[in-house]
């Protein structure tokens, strides 16, 4: 009986001895705005020992307290390291002071406004908000003017809408997401980018080559993701007013509030108006449409760092009206008559989206995410006698889980996506209705050997009610052969369902007859588009003029297994049919970024495109796609004074080689165009005077050398005749355009 009791007592005693005392506390940072900002990730350790810990997301820490140690060190980069004398196990509350000497270092190494990632496996270029301020950038479609990876063109002479192109392929082949939720697609394919005001955009990421499996199966040429401003980090008040001599006025207003420690909300308002008729090339048609738009967004942001939750809720509403056509067109009296040719495009769009993220508190590499989005897009439009109405309802859900396998070198992301799209279209006199739904699962494994290799292997399996079951694999790799270099390769498949009318609305503004060669497929009698994209990219950083610079070489090829060929080689018609043969796009780009002098940045780029398709009439180069493009952008920022005032100058020069016109030789001579367009030079420039961090004014010009396409509209004097066509656009319609604006924030 005695033995077990002794044994028990010994065990209890050892428990008491090993039961350690702990010391706990919270570390804060000293800041002008608030008094109690916790400092996560701060190092807390006993002097000359390796007994230490780091503060959690709430700034809290708990560290063993062996009585013999008395000096507790608290440190964090950018703050003065402190030593606290400890004599007993009391609760610690300590504030760290920012190290003012660190400011000097920050000023000397200016952050590039747009940069390519050296480390990521994918070929991503990031455009920051500072870069977006360099051009007029009234909306997302106009935010690529200073970046050579995205081309912008006008698909028609009337609506003034810009369409983007990546790797030589038009925007439907690029997945455009807003905060990683697919956004510009289906009914909003053509105008969707112009429905996102420029000031709402926080940053843009451009990924070349088949994107990640996490965002779906639709990306073929690449992915463009725009991050919107977030209520917690955006200004409390922001106002931007803009006026251009093309009669366009814009107003942007952001209002952000902090409701409590966890909730933030923001109200984003945008309005634009062009109500003066501009006609400068004597063809009787408005050079730019009469337009008005009201765009409102309310964002809610929830952050509970202690529990690991982050959430965003967005609600958006948009109303946009455009009037196009002849100057004397009156919608009330001339609609559907032969008095005058004109059209109206009225759009209403409502959207709600929710994003929730949960990071496991003790395991920062493990997280759960949910994305949900619903949109209702309604467009009622007519172009002369051609009616085109579309009502597109869309629901998207994505659930994913991310963690490591063994250690942080092996990461994986897996999840399920469900999508639903309902289309109701009226095309001239025919109704096309369809419902699409798909469910899919994905798995992406990522290996990072913390040195020279980073590989992403992704696989998706989806079941679509109109395509069946299919897989879309995506592979990306980055290898660092030597210092400051990155060799990237990507390979992947993309599948997309075509909305042939919504994506080619420019043909309604012509006398062409529109027809489909029905092959019994599930999309207007045609099949889904399917392509493989592969490419390599090499980036090398180097030093020149005693500053950082880099040079990049990209080559990508997109091969279509099926493509909806838009055949407008016959000037009297446009025919849609499934590809029978080969269609490919080869794109080669080289880009140099350097800084020849203090606060001067220069970007130079050359691109070569070879885009060919097998039409019924044989293999042809894709029409209106320049083979060579040269781009140079230069920016200078003057020294920033004490009160924050300085000047910013920016200029861009673009040269496009000749483009092939689609065939017009069957037209009577008066309505024939030459085989090729002339080459083009355009210049844009902007000057900004920043008075302080709160106020700035800018003045700029687009197409300063006044380059204009003569007679962009064929048969403009007889728009109801058989040769009327507004789709032969290769260059600017409106000559030089000057604008001014102000930005005020606090």
């Amino acid at each position: 009986m005695k033995k077990p009791i002794w044994f028990l007592l010994v065990c209890l005693c050892t428990q008491l001895v090993t039961a350690q005392k702990y010391i706990s506390g919270i570390i804060y940072e000293v800041s002008e705005r608030q008094t109690n900002i916790p400092l996560p990730g701060a190092n807390v350790y006993w002097l000359n020992t390796e007994i230490g810990t780091i503060t959690n997301t709430d700034g809290e820490f708990k560290i063993p307290y062996p009585k013999k140690y008395t000096q507790l060190i608290v440190s964090y980069v950018g703050f003065k390291t402190d030593t606290i004398q400890i004599t007993e196990a009391t609760e610690i509350k300590h504030w760290l002071l920012p190290e003012s000497s660190l400011d000097a270092i920050v000023l000397q190494k200016r952050k590039q406004t747009a940069f390519r990632s050296l480390l990521q496996a994918q070929n991503v270029t990031m455009i920051s908000s500072a870069e977006l301020l360099k051009a007029a950038c009234c909306n997302l479609a106009e935010s690529f003017e200073t970046n050579p990876s995205i081309d912008v063109n006008f698909p028609d002479a009337l609506t003034g809408t810009r369409q983007i192109r990546m790797l030589g392929l038009t925007s439907p082949y690029t997945l455009i997401t807003l905060e990683n939720i697919p956004a510009v697609r289906g009914a909003s394919q053509i105008y969707g980018l112009s429905f996102v005001p420029g000031t709402w955009v926080e940053s843009i990421q451009i990924s070349k080559g088949a994107g990640s499996v996490v965002n779906g199966y639709e990306s073929i040429a690449g992915q463009i993701n725009a991050e919107l401003q977030k209520p917690a980090t955006d200004e409390n008040f922001f106002l931007n007013a803009y006026a251009g001599n093309d009669g366009r006025f814009e107003l942007n207003n952001h209002l952000n509030f902090k409701l409590n420690e966890k909730w933030y909300t923001g109200l984003y308002l945008h309005g634009n108006l062009r109500d003066s008729k501009m006609e400068n090339n004597d063809d009787g048609f408005l050079d730019m449409p009469l337009a008005k738009q009201l765009n409102v967004m309310n964002r809610w942001q929830y952050m509970d760092a202690k529990k690991g939750f982050v959430g965003f809720l967005n609600v958006r509403y948009l109303r946009d009206e455009k009037q196009i056509g002849q100057v004397d067109f009156n919608p009330d009296t001339d609609k559907f008559t032969a008095n005058s040719w004109g059209g109206k495009i009225n759009t209403q769009r409502a959207e709600a989206s929710l994003k929730l993220g949960y990071v496991f508190p003790e395991i920062p590499y493990q997280s759960l995410g949910v994305q949900m989005s619903y949109s209702d897009h309604r467009q009622d439009a007519y172009f002369g006698f051609n009616v085109y109405d579309i009502h597109h309802k869309s629901l998207y859900t994505n659930l994913f889980f991310s963690s490591i396998i063994g250690d942080s070198r092996h990461n994986f992301k897996t999840g399920i996506s469900i999508s639903y799209d309902d289309y109701e279209e009226l095309v001239i006199e025919t109704a096309y209705n369809r419902t699409e739904n798909s469910i899919g699962g994905f798995f992406e494994y990522s290996y990072d050997n913390l040195g020279d290799l980073n590989v992403n292997l992704g696989m998706r399996v989806d079941h679509h009610n109109r395509i069946g079951t299919f897989v879309t694999p995506r592979i990306h790799a980055r290898y660092t052969p030597w210092e400051k270099a990155a060799l990237k390769a990507s390979f992947g498949r993309g599948v997309r369902t075509p909305s042939i009318f919504a994506e080619n609305q420019q043909f309604f503004s012509s006398s062409r007859s529109i027809s489909i060669r029905d092959s019994g497929g599930n999309f207007y009698g045609l099949d889904a588009e399917d392509a493989w994209n592969y490419g390599v990219s090499f980036l090398q950083g180097f030093r020149i003029f005693n500053r950082e610079a880099d040079i990049t070489f990209d080559f990508y090829r997109t091969d279509f297994v099926n493509q909806i060929v838009v055949d407008w080689e016959d000037p009297q018609q446009v025919v849609f049919y499934n590809l029978d043969g080969t269609s490919f796009a080869n794109s080669f780009q080289t880009e140099v970024n350097l800084s020849p002098a203090e606060r001067v940045d220069v970007r130079i780029s050359y691109r070569l495109f070879d885009v060919q398709t097998d039409y019924l009439s044989g293999r042809q180069q894709k029409p209106l796609t320049p083979k060579h493009r040269f781009f140079i952008n230069a920016g200078y920022e003057s020294r920033i004074k004490e009160n924050g005032s300085h000047w910013k100058f920016d200029a861009t020069y673009n040269w496009l080689s000749a483009q092939r016109f689609p065939a017009t030789f069957t037209n009577p001579e008066a309505f024939r165009l030459s085989e090729n367009t002339p080459h083009l030079n355009t210049v844009n420039a902007q000057i900004t005077k920043v008075f302080s961090s709160k106020f700035e004014i800018y003045v700029g010009g687009e197409n300063i050398t006044n380059v204009r396409q003569n007679n962009p509209i064929v048969s403009a004097d007889n728009p109801f005749g058989p040769y009327f066509d507004t789709t032969f656009v290769y260059g600017p319609i409106f000559g030089s355009m000057y604008y001014t604006g102000l930005r005020w924030k606090f």
Binding site: I5, F7, G41, Y45, E50, S75, I363, N449
Partner: protein, 116 residues
Amino acid sequence: MKKIVLIVVVIIFGMQVHAQESNARATIEVDGVCLMCKERIEKAAIKTKGVKSAVWNVETHMLSLIYDERKTSLPLIHESVAAAGHDTKEIIAPEKAYENLHACCKYRDASVVNEH
């Protein structure tokens, strides 16, 4: 009485086992001087079985670790990092390992440290 003693002993041992975390966090000081050192230090730490995450800060010289206490321990991690050529507070790197480092990484040399 024997049964009660047995139960209590089992509970005490149970508590001992429970005290080992699968996601233990610790910070140790490791000497190094550049981004190449960062890569080497993190790689050495993470290659140690049981280490899940290792992030080394160039400025503070602190290596933040998340590791499984049941599979490894801090002394073992110190050994791995030192074997790669980087001194830690507890263990000095063996001469051979230090000599093998790239010239710009020789953190024991004051002139090399100044260049960074």
